[in-house]
Amino acid sequence: MIFPPQAGLKKTRMDWALFLSMIILLALGTSAVFSSVAELPQQARIVRVQLLAIPMGLLAFGAAWSLNYQIYQDQWKYVYGALLVMLAGVLVFGVVDKGSRSWYRLPFFSVQPSEFARVGLILVLANYLDKRIGKIKELQTVLGAFGLCVPVFVLLIKQPDFSAILLTFPVAILMLYSAGASLFHLSIILGYGFISAVFPGLWALISLNPELMDNSLVYYFFHLSDSVLNASVFIAIIAIGAWVLWRLSCKFYTGVPGLYFAGVALVLILGFFSGVLVKKQMKEYQQKRLEVFLSPETDPRGAGYNLLQARVAIGSGGVLGRGIFSGTQSRLGFLPERHTDFIVAVVGEEMGFWGMLLVIGLYVLMLRRLMQGARLARDRFGYLVNCGIFSMLIVYFCINLGMLLGFVPVAGVPLPLLSYGGSNLVATMAAIGIAESVYARRYTLV
């Protein structure tokens, strides 16, 4: 038995704990958003969008809940096609805001397709893993799963929306992990992803600090991607280095498979190529965005300032908080991005330690219910879908709160249900609706 026997005895159609914690978080978030934007010039628009997004989100939740989730498995090609079209379309028809072409401008509001694409990708990946479960331990399966992700990532880089990649990549890894993929394969993928992020990142860092180029090695590294010659020399060095290392280790140990060395070298080279690709694809403003992302000090007041102000906001709330609509840090604008990424700081300032405990507690409860939902799912697809949604919320939760509390570097990641952002809200509620749909059609003993 993997669940308590009585768990399935009551056949309810709705996981009320999940639903209620979602609603309470939504209410907390909405009050915090209203409080934080009270002094902003775009207050009217934000309030309007939030008030529009809540019913739309509830509608999406209801629709997803009532619809049998298995339809996504049947129609996975349409789901995948729709999300690719959505992401490709935004590159053509979208509007630029804050350096990213990520929004569809509609008459009353804008839609950010990447938020929906993330949920869609979870469904597509769940279907793929469900089909390939017998060969889950093979590298092809893992590569295939990422093959599904790569077009999405490419389209996201084109926008560019680095935080969307930052969020989607771990979700895919966690889904593969919960589906039972080999840890070795996962680490290869992780390494590849890491390296393809590291190359453009390092180059951007070097161009930000030109004095580093005094070092000839750094100089050479910086100009790796400039000519085919440089690149091929680099690749040759890696290949030969891997081969030499393999031969050397064979002298000391017996039976060292050359595959590992070849794999590492391949990952390095592939990572390098995708890094070059990313760099070449980036436009001027995208480069700028990456630089700000990497080195927030280029922002005049600095990321240190933002983080400090967030910490001051949370700390000054104390145990009981300063009262809703009374936080000076947020209302007077010391808190950056207060209605989106730093919304939890507003909660911390205005509702204090108890408010923060409530937010964290409700989130943990929600995650717990999603996990239970996965356990109870009727089929493997449902299990994997719930795992995906579960992972997505965990990633959001860890990165957002970790950044706010100073464990993770600053990254523009919102906290779903609390942060302002219509698309994110609707997409998250739709995802929870799908999880509820899985729960409603769960496996029961009776």
């Binding site: 002094e39 204090g352 795992c387 970790g402």
Partner: protein, 616 residues
């Protein structure tokens, strides 16, 4: 049972990850919100409030007759606090419009506004605005939000260069002052502090509590509302023992003197309270009120005349030292007061001839005549009789070589001359030294305040008080903070007849001797002139005196020094007379009232007698 061909424990592992993260976050929150709440609350408060401080009026300084020597007057400052973000063109335009009525430099204004914008802090664009441009500025206030006019109190010294060495001055803080006060909430970077004199010594009492407008600002420094406007608390008022009229007479007299350098110290012999304290050259403390440092106000190459002649200038006392010699010879018992010595105009000391200041000689001289005429030969002989050690002893008893103890920094102690210090230096004492010592030449040095203490001791029968100048300090709410007390430092015990003889001699100095320029109708003046030889130039002129009216004890003792004044009788005595007249004006007018016709013979009949000359 569902077999999903999936290892279920992996889900548990992800769950544990979430659970661990949540626990970590909560621990961090306990740290931030429960343990660190007060700290962060304070930062948040500092974030949101900005204070435009309004300097409180410093405590006023009054003379004993309640004339304000230092006061405060309202002054208007133009401040700018950064408003909603403006374009550079708008700022330039505003600066140009403001520069016209202010008459200030457009570039300075523009820079000031930019500084305010970039720092997000209010700045003072102009200080001490004249009232006539207030109207045009008030109109501009309506056009440009962000500029405002605040009223502050500014230090003002109505008499300018007057009692400056005692009062001191205030100025902006330098780096060291700021380091001392940066923790003090009552001081801002641009606060003024006392830099010298009373202003420095009683900084804490005079300062008061600054008021301020507490503004709530947002992250860009934009004003969102005024939280509160806190009224200032004025500083405590200081009442001095100094008499404004006597002080004015002293300042005036020194200013009009030949060199314009010198000092006047007038004490109340009953208590040691200072009645006048003038030291020339002085300075006008008003010039520092607005400036940042002395360098800004003084012309290049000129330094602030901070040297306080009254307590820091050591001069040979010359003939005024004969008061001490008199005490020594009378107390020694070796010279009878009515014993006469013959003065042929010189004294033959064997290997050298010492001259009297009067080359014709004074003929037969007893003690009273010797003191009245300041006959050097009388004091040569009598001093030799009494012995140099005795003279040295009495010069110590009259507190030479010791600072007077007035509460002012860097006081000098003068110098004791005599066989004792010579012996310490392992050198010889010659007969000529005894002669020089007897008439106050040689190595004896005295500061004007020591001279004042000496004559005050003669007036009150030998009591040395610590000179003090603060009568009381009264807080703005009327509470008495401090009251100056008379403090006896030491006492010279002389026989009554010695005092009587010295006083008689000093009285005849003024009535018929060298000090007739100090004669005042209605008061008895006891004085002694002095001309101190000065190798660097003309002789310094001394005059010490005290005055009694009727049978009352002496109320004033004064010492006047005029550098290079040549003759004590002509240069110093008239100043002393003016000071005494001013100080005793109420007593004198009360006395003069019944017989108004009696004031007909004030001027000295003879031209001022030549001053006594020391040994050559």
């Amino acid at each position: 049972m569902i077999d999903r061909q999936i290892p279920q424990e992996r889900l548990d592992f992800i769950w544990a990850l979430a659970y661990g993260a949540a626990l970590l976050f909560m621990l961090r929150l306990v740290n931030l919100q429960v343990l660190g709440a007060a700290h962060y609350r304070e930062i948040a408060e500092r974030n949101r409030t900005q204070i435009i401080s309004q300097a409180a009026p410093r405590g006023r300084i009054f003379s004993s007759d309640e004339v304000a020597i230092a006061t405060s007057k309202p002054s208007f400052s133009l401040i700018y606090f950064p408003g909603p973000s403006r374009t550079n063109a708008e700022i330039d335009h505003m600066a140009r419009t403001l520069a016209r009525p202010l008459g200030g430099d457009y570039e300075d204004l523009r820079r000031g506004i930019y500084r305010a914008v970039s720092r997000g802090k209010p700045v003072r664009l102009a200080e001490n605005l004249p009232p006539k441009i207030m109207l045009s500025l008030s109109e501009l206030k309506a056009v440009y939000p962000g500029i405002d006019i605040i009223v502050e109190a500014r230090r003002f010294y109505p008499f300018g260069a007057y009692l400056s060495h005692l009062v001191g001055y205030i100025s902006k803080m330098d780096a060291r002052d700021w380091a001392l006060r940066s923790k003090d909430r009552n001081y801002a970077m641009d606060s003024r502090v006392g830099k010298a004199g009373l202003e420095k010594t009683y900084e804490r009492e005079l300062k008061g509590k600054d008021g301020g407008i507490y503004l709530e600002v947002d992250s860009r420094g934009k004003l969102s509302r005024v939280l509160e406007s806190r009224k200032w608390v004025p500083g405590a008022d200081i009442f001095l023992t100094v008499d404004s009229k006597a002080q004015a007479a002293a300042e005036e007299g020194l200013k009009k003197s030949i060199s314009g350098k010198g000092a006047v110290v007038a004490l109340d012999p009953r208590s040691g309270a200072i009645i006048a304290f003038a030291s020339a050259p002085g300075y006008d403390p008003n010039m520092f009120v607005l400036s940042g440092s002395e360098k800004d106000v003084l012309p290049a190459g000129q330094i602030l005349p901070e040297f306080n002649v009254a307590i820091q200038g050591s001069y040979p006392p010359g003939s005024i030292f004969k008061i001490i010699t008199s005490a020594a010879i009378l107390e020694s018992g070796r010279v009878k007061p009515d014993e006469t010595f013959y003065c042929p105009g010189f004294y033959d000391a064997g290997d050298r001839v010492f001259k009297c200041w009067n080359k014709k000689g004074h003929k037969k001289m007893d003690f009273i005549n010797g003191l009245a005429n300041s006959c050097d030969v009388y004091f040569y002989i009598a001093g030799q009789r009494a012995g140099a050690m005795t003279v040295e002893k009495y010069s110590r008893l009259f507190r030479l070589g010791q600072p007077s103890g007035i509460a002012l920094p860097d006081e000098r102690a003068g110098n004791v001359f005599g066989p004792g210090p010579r012996a310490v230096k392992k050198s010889y004492w010659f007969i000529g030294d005894t002669l020089n010592l007897s008439i106050g030449q040689g190595e004896t040095l005295m500061t004007p305040i020591q001279a004042a203490g000496m004559i005050a001791a003669v007036a009150n029968g030998g009591v040395f008080h610590r000179p003090y100048y603060v009568d009381k300090i009264v807080r703005s709410d009327g509470q008495l903070l401090y009251r100056g007390k008379s403090e006896v430092l030491s006492r010279v015990e002389l026989k009554d007849e010695t005092w009587a003889l010295i006083r008689e001699g000093l009285h005849s100095v003024v009535s018929e001797g060298t000090g007739q320029a100090a004669k005042i109708t209605g008061a008895e003046i006891y004085g002694k002139t002095g001309s101190a030889q000065n190798p660097q130039g003309k002789d310094h002129a001394w005059f010490v005196a005290y005055a009694t009216v009727g049978d009352q004890p002496a109320k004033i003792a004064v010492a006047v020094l005029v550098e290079h004044g040549v003759h004590g009788a002509s240069a110093a005595a008239p100043i002393a007379k003016a000071v005494i007249e001013a100080a005793l004006r109420s007593d004198l007018s009360a006395k003069a009232a019944p017989r108004p016709a009696a004031g007909a013979n004030p001027a000295p009949e003879t031209p001022p007698a030549p001053a006594p000359k020391g040994a050559l």
